[in-house]
Symmetry: C2
Subunit: 225 residues, 2 copies
C-alpha cells in the first residue's frame, strides 16, 4: 500500500488554512463550504477540496466542512497538538525579538534557552530565559530534550553551529542565517531568508514601474488605444 506523499505546495498552504479557520472559529462560525472559504481566501473551491482530500474526507456532502473539526485536524497535521521545546542561538536583536514573541507559545512552541558567544550577553534574560555561553549548548540540549534550534547568528558562525547541532538529538533547525545548511535527513530545516524576501519585493516594485512606463509610452505613440 503506497502512501501518497503530500506535495510541498499543499503543505505550504496549510498554515494559511489554519489561520483562516481559527478566525472563523473565533467568530463562532460552525460550518463553511469550499465555495465560501474560497471567496474568503481568494482561492478556487476546487483547490480547497483537493487540498483537504489529501488527508481524507473532512467534509460532508450537502453540508460543507465543520469549522472547528477542520481547524483541529489541520492543527494535528501540522503537529500543533504536540509540544516543541526550542532554543535560540544568537541573542542579538532578531533572537530577542523571536524570544519575546508570545504567540509561538500558544501553538505549543516552548522557549527554553538562549545562547550567545558574546560574554557580555551571558546571564542577561529574555522573558525569564537566561542567555548561556556556547560551551553549554550540547549539554543543555540533551538535558532539556530540545527539539528545535533557532539560528539567529551570522552566516559564518551558522555553518559551525549547524555542524555542532548535527552531533545532538535536535530534530529541526529554524534558520535565519543567510546560508544554506547541509544537514542529515533526520534534521528538518526551514529557512527564513529575510533579504531574499526583501529582494523579491524590490523586484515587484521594479517590474510594476517598468510596466507603467511601457503603458505610458504605448499610449503616447498610439500603438494601442
Amino acid at each position: 500500500m503506497e502512501e501518497k506523499e503530500i506535495s510541498p505546495a499543499v503543505i505550504g498552504r496549510l498554515p494559511r488554512y489554519f489561520r483562516y479557520l481559527g478566525e472563523l472559529k473565533d467568530e463562532g462560525i460552525e460550518r463553511i463550504s469550499s465555495q465560501d472559504l474560497s471567496e474568503l481566501m481568494q482561492a478556487t473551491a476546487s483547490q480547497i477540496r483537493q487540498d483537504f482530500n489529501n488527508f481524507g474526507g473532512f467534509g460532508q456532502q450537502g453540508y460543507g466542512y465543520n469549522v472547528e473539526y477542520l481547524y483541529d485536524e489541520i492543527g494535528k497535521i501540522l503537529g500543533l497538538d504536540r509540544q516543541h521545546r526550542f532554543i535560540i542561538i544568537g541573542a542579538g536583536n532578531l533572537g530577542r525579538a523571536l524570544g519575546n514573541y508570545m504567540n509561538f507559545e500558544r501553538r505549543g512552541f516552548l522557549f527554553r534557552g538562549m545562547f550567545d558567544q558574546n560574554p557580555e550577553l551571558i546571564g542577561s534574560q529574555v522573558r525569564g530565559v537566561k542567555v548561556m555561553p556556547m560551551e553549554e549548548l550540547e549539554t543543555f540540549i540533551r538535558e532539556n530534550h530540545i527539539d528545535i534550534a533557532v539560528l539567529t547568528i551570522p552566516k559564518a558562525s551558522a555553518l559551525n553551529v549547524a555542524k555542532r547541532l548535527v552531533g545532538t538529538d535536535i530534530r529541526a533547525i529554524w534558520n535565519f542565517a543567510h546560508v544554506d545548511l547541509d544537514l542529515p535527513e533526520r534534521i528538518q530545516v526551514e529557512n527564513v531568508h529575510l533579504s531574499d524576501s526583501l529582494m523579491k519585493l524590490s523586484y515587484s516594485i521594479n517590474r510594476y514601474e517598468q510596466e507603467q512606463e511601457k503603458t505610458a509610452k504605448k499610449r503616447q505613440t498610439g500603438v494601442e488605444s
Copy 2:
C-alpha cells in the same frame, strides 16, 4: 510583441542565484558553467539555463557564464541597482531588529524612519533613526519620498495602518503582521509570516517521525525487509 511574463517560481530563485554568484565573485572566480553552478546549488543545469534565459542570453557557448556580469545583471533585474527608502512601522523587538540590520543598507535599502503609537517609545533611536508618533506618518512619507513601509505591528493595527498607507505614495509593503492585506495593484506586498514558517517546520518534524515509526513497524512485522 507580447512581453513574456516571468513566472513566480523563477523570481523566487533569483535572490538565491544572486547570493551564490556574490560568493563566487568574492572568491575571485571569473566564470562558471551551468553544470558547475548546478552542483553547487543543488539544482539541475537545465533549470539554471532556463531561468537565465528568461532574461536573454547571459552566457556564451563553450565558455559558460561570466560571474561578475551575471551577478550584476541579476542585481539589476531585482532592482538592487537603485535605492529604496524605507520606514519601519512598529518599534517593538522585531522592528528594532530589522532597523539594526545593516546588510539591507548594502543592497540599497535606506532606513529613514520609524513609527510607533506607544508614546514611551517616541524619541528613542535605532541606529540614529528616531521613532516618531503615528500622526506624522503621512507627512513624513511625502516629504522623504519613502518607497517601502515595513509593518512590524500586530494584526489588528496592521489593517488600519495599511489603509492609511493606501492614501500615500508608498510603493510597497513588507508585511510581518499575520494578516493578508488587501491593497491596490500599485502597492506591492511581500508577506513574511513567521508563524507559518514555524508551522511548516513542525509539520516536517511530525512527518519524519511518522515515517520512522512506519518503517520500524514494517521491519518488525516483516512486511518488507
